[in-house]
């Protein structure tokens, strides 16, 4: 893979982090600049594009009607899919989703699902028969590290931006009416990924930093500061103390981002 960096560069990055510094001058818990553009895809029911440094993620939301799951007959259905689009990195290849894109989709999915972000019961059209299905498609357009936080943020921004078609039921048929209603949301979770290198924790790792990190832990945090979903990744480990520390760090950063985002 052409995105691998040299051993020398790895050493340089590691030594900086061990001193509490970073290659781009940020502090260990600083995020890169980010910008959210909403509604770029007029044809989708919702969309948002997030630039986090040079990481670029576009999320489109489509709403269609479909059948509910048998065990939740009066709830809408959420489906999250992630594409590591091959133009985003020389290391991404076209083809069916691999384990990285599946993990990414499932982390984004759990952040939304476990925080009960969508008011699923309001998506029910006819219990057991017809509900709205919300398709969240995460489209990574440029990979410069921290795809998890960028994708999760962009997905929630797209949901906030999503409009639902109005409808009425006539003779058992769903008739789509003029006009839209916002998608009913109950929560706006923010996912923060904490990287670990030796005894240091850091936030918003860039692409090169990700290659020297031992491991990462991602936490979805809701408005109350509660934890809604967690995922450890990477081939290294955390001590129990580091996990508690990481959890606090994520909660603080979520508060900070929430203010910036006015979420």
């Amino acid at each position: 893979m052409s995105t691998l960096i040299t051993k020398v560069r790895q050493k340089q990055l590691s030594q900086l982090i061990e001193k509490g510094k970073r290659i781009d001058g940020r502090g260990l818990t600083d995020f890169r600049e980010f910008k959210i553009e909403e509604g770029l895809i007029e044809r989708a029911e919702g969309s948002a594009r997030l630039l986090l440094g040079k990481t670029d993620v576009l999320v489109g939301v489509k709403i269609e009607t479909g059948e509910p799951f048998p065990d939740t007959p009066n709830e809408g259905v959420l489906t999250v899919n992630a594409e590591l689009v091959p133009l985003a990195s020389a290391s991404f290849e076209p083809g069916p989703p691999d384990e990285s894109s599946i993990e990414l989709a499932r982390i984004v999915d759990r952040g939304i699902r476990e925080s009960k972000a969508i008011d699923n019961e309001k998506l029910c059209i006819e219990a057991g028969k017809k509900v709205f299905v919300v398709f969240v498609d995460v489209y990574v357009l440029n990979h410069d590290g921290n795809l998890i936080d960028a994708s999760a943020l962009a997905a929630v921004a797209a949901l906030i931006n999503t409009k639902m078609p109005n409808y009425e039921i006539k003779d058992g048929e769903v008739i789509i009416k003029q006009g839209y209603t916002p998608l009913p949301l109950k929560s706006r979770p923010i996912t923060i990924t904490v990287g670990k290198l030796g005894d240091k924790l850091l936030l918003d790792a860039g692409l090169e930093e990700e290659q020297v990190m031992d491991a990462r832990i991602s936490l979805a945090i809701n408005e109350e500061g509660n934890i809604c979903a967690v995922q450890k990744g990477g081939s290294g480990y955390f001590t129990p103390q580091q996990i508690i520390e990481a959890s606090k760090l994520a909660q603080e950063k979520a508060v900070e981002l929430r203010k910036k985002l006015k979420w």
């Binding site: 052409s2 044809r43 489109g60 489509k62 269609e64 133009l87 489209y139 440029n142």
Partner: protein, 249 residues
């Protein structure tokens, strides 16, 4: 279902979106938009929004696809699931496979494939939003992305469709005209070589109408060609300015 009797062009010859018969939709072209790709471009053509990234010339993977006497060009035309009215499955459809092929063949005549034996170039076309004429807009943007990658080219390739709507041959059909019109004729063209590198048609046309449509499409291509060159110039000026700034610092 939409009533097919509805007129798409009014008595004054104005189309539903306000354009005249030979008028292009608004275009926006940007070059060098993707940091990781070797070359890239973004196009808005009407409501089409398309991103193209180019990687290479680089070693082929898998190796057995490489050729001892020339470079291999690969192209993937792919629609984002949210780019169309009804969500599209991410798996490639037969339409996407066909368009990938004809787009590749539209671009190949512009390249000196024999100059880079045993290597490959990958062109990734992502339709973020579709509004009729995506294959043409993809070619226009892909040619820019190739130029941005620095690979030598015989000429830019530029593409535009003409077609027949109601009883009139018109330029650059958008989605509704594409679906309700009589015929659609996408054309790709290299102006300096007077070479048509893509040509397709759906619908029914007399020979005279077909000839008129091809010529109108080529005229459209020539106009977009000017915008392509503009976009490349903007990129180079941008680079020049950046370099000067660095020198001044």
């Amino acid at each position: 279902m939409i009533d097919k009797q509805e007129k798409l062009i009014d008595k004054k010859g104005i189309r539903l979106d306000g354009r005249k018969a030979d008028e292009l939709r608004p275009l926006k072209l940007e070059v060098g938009v993707l940091p990781n790709a070797d070359g890239s471009a973004y196009i808005e053509h009407g409501k089409n929004k398309i991103l193209v990234g180019v990687f290479g010339p680089r070693e082929m993977h898998p190796k057995h696809l490489s050729r001892p006497d020339r470079m291999v060009l690969r192209c993937r035309y792919h629609m984002a699931p949210f780019s169309v009215q009804e969500r599209k499955s991410p798996a490639p459809s037969r339409r996407e496979v066909e368009l990938s092929k004809v787009i590749r063949e539209a671009l190949e005549p512009a390249l000196f494939l024999e100059m880079y034996p045993r290597t490959g170039i990958d062109i990734f076309v992502e339709i973020l939003q579709a509004d009729g004429g995506t294959r043409c807009a993809s070619i226009t943007a892909a040619a820019l992305a190739l130029a941005d990658s620095g690979i030598p080219m015989r000429d830019l390739v530029v593409a535009c469709a003409a077609g027949k709507v109601d009883d009139t041959v018109v330029l650059d059909l958008y989605d509704a005209e594409d679906k309700l019109g009589v015929a659609d004729v996408p054309v790709a063209y290299m102006p300096n070589l007077n070479a048509v590198t893509l040509l397709q048609m759906d619908g029914i046309l007399t020979h005279a109408e077909f000839e008129k449509a091809v010529n109108m499409a080529i005229d459209g291509c020539k106009k977009i060609y000017a915008l392509q060159k503009e976009a490349l110039k903007t990129k180079y000026m941008h680079i020049k300015e950046e370099t000067q700034e660095e020198v001044e610092e």
